[in-house]
Symmetry: C2
Subunit: 218 residues, 2 copies
DNA sequence: TAGTTTTGTTAGACTACCCTAACTTTATAT
DNA sequence: ATATAAAGTTAGGGTAGTCTAACAAAACTA
């Protein structure tokens, strides 16, 4: 069985090399930054994970998950998203509170627990942030989605997920009047810095390029 | 914040020095045995916990919890029993399956989670094994109960809790036809070894002294 | 292409938790 | 009351995961 730390490294690699991130491999420093450890620390773990055949890695080269590593990572993601759904749906946690606790719960080991939790929640497809929950076989359907910054001026779209799950970002999202399934109309966009004016429920707001990059819509 | 390991030591001390155990202090070897570590290991931790003022301890002396240590231990026990209740009531876990998973869940840190979980469960008073769940203030009412081995021949009683929570014991209990609230009649007891004949729902069984010592009744 | 910056690696050290082996103190039993 | 047994402690060592400091390789840049 993997340690919590190993699981966290695999999960970080999964997120850094996903379709969403538009990359299939990453580097030591980037991984270290994602996990809030020093590159030297990440380097040690890379050797260990390579030894366990969970990642593809050669000295001074890029890192990617093997099939086995990806399987393990997806299992952690699955647990994370099921717990988030539980916290949100059953325990009245808010959008921005679920992530932190799910970071702990995702490491609980008990196949029966996850199986039963999923059943209890009614086999949900999406977590509270709009992300797809992988099924028990580790399959996750990819969503045809783009970022708010890719939507053209004058068009309307619907919020389906957020990229960043930090509490500060989510609180900001709520403040702008946005939630899952919110309808967003693009009023205008500044060429200069990408600042975008949007309209949500008749209320207009200005949001930054960075903000728009972190909102997924269809 | 305490580590999972520290929490486990405090919890073990709580159980070893409870009313149930009829003792208010314990020794290094006993503690080590309860945690499945060597005495040398427990000794290191005792020094650490004393330093944190969570236990009363002097070299070559007995160990007991301070008020602060007891508070922490009770919080862990509270979480453990609430999770057991959740698993049993909401996720269709059986009597003998809940303990192991709760051993992991009890270390999740989130005051809101426990608060909401308790509310979700309807502020239960007892866990699936019949043990009292401490309230949010850390108060736990003690139960007027005795062991089955203390009941006199010819008398009847009701099962309110089990002492041992191991899967093997609980499966044995179920096999004899017992569960929470079962009515038990004492048919006879051997002077020689304490073997007792009981009747549950019209079915007679012979149980050992050790078995009877681990059944709490009123 | 040569210098500089970025990225990645190695060496050595620290903490938490665990171990074994040797030792000391306390308790028990005749 | 002393020998033996039981309980408890200390010293020294191991692994996982983290760090800093120094170094090596790769990638930029001018």
């Amino acid at each position: 069985m993997l340690s919590q730390t190993e699981e966290n490294y695999l999960k970080a690699l999964f997120h850094l090399t996903s379709e969403t991130a538009n990359k299939s491999e990453t580097g030591t420093n980037e991984l270290a930054a994602a996990l809030n450890v020093k590159p030297a620390t990440a380097n040690d773990m890379l050797k260990k994970l390579k030894e366990k055949k969970l990642i593809n890695y050669e000295k001074y080269g890029k890192v990617s998950l093997t099939a086995a590593g990806r399987r393990q990572a997806i299992e952690v993601v699955r647990k994370h998203r099921l717990w988030e759904t539980f916290l949100y749906e059953k325990l009245q946690f808010s959008w921005d509170e679920v992530h932190e606790v799910a970071e702990q719960l995702e490491h609980i080991y008990s196949p029966k627990l996850i199986e039963q939790l999923e059943k209890f929640l009614g086999y949900p497809e999406f977590d509270p942030h709009g992300d797809v929950i992988p099924n028990a076989k580790g399959e996750l359907k990819l969503q045809a989605r783009k970022t708010l910054s890719q939507v053209m001026v004058g068009k309307s779209c619907k919020l389906v997920a957020v990229k960043d799950n930090s509490a500060s970002f989510l609180q900001y999202v709520v403040k702008v009047g946005l939630g899952l399934s919110s309808k967003i109309k693009l009023i205008s966009r500044q060429e200069f810095d990408g600042t975008t004016e949007i309209e949500v429920n008749g209320k207009k707001s200005m949001v930054s390029q960075k903000f728009a990059d972190n909102i997924f819509v269809v």
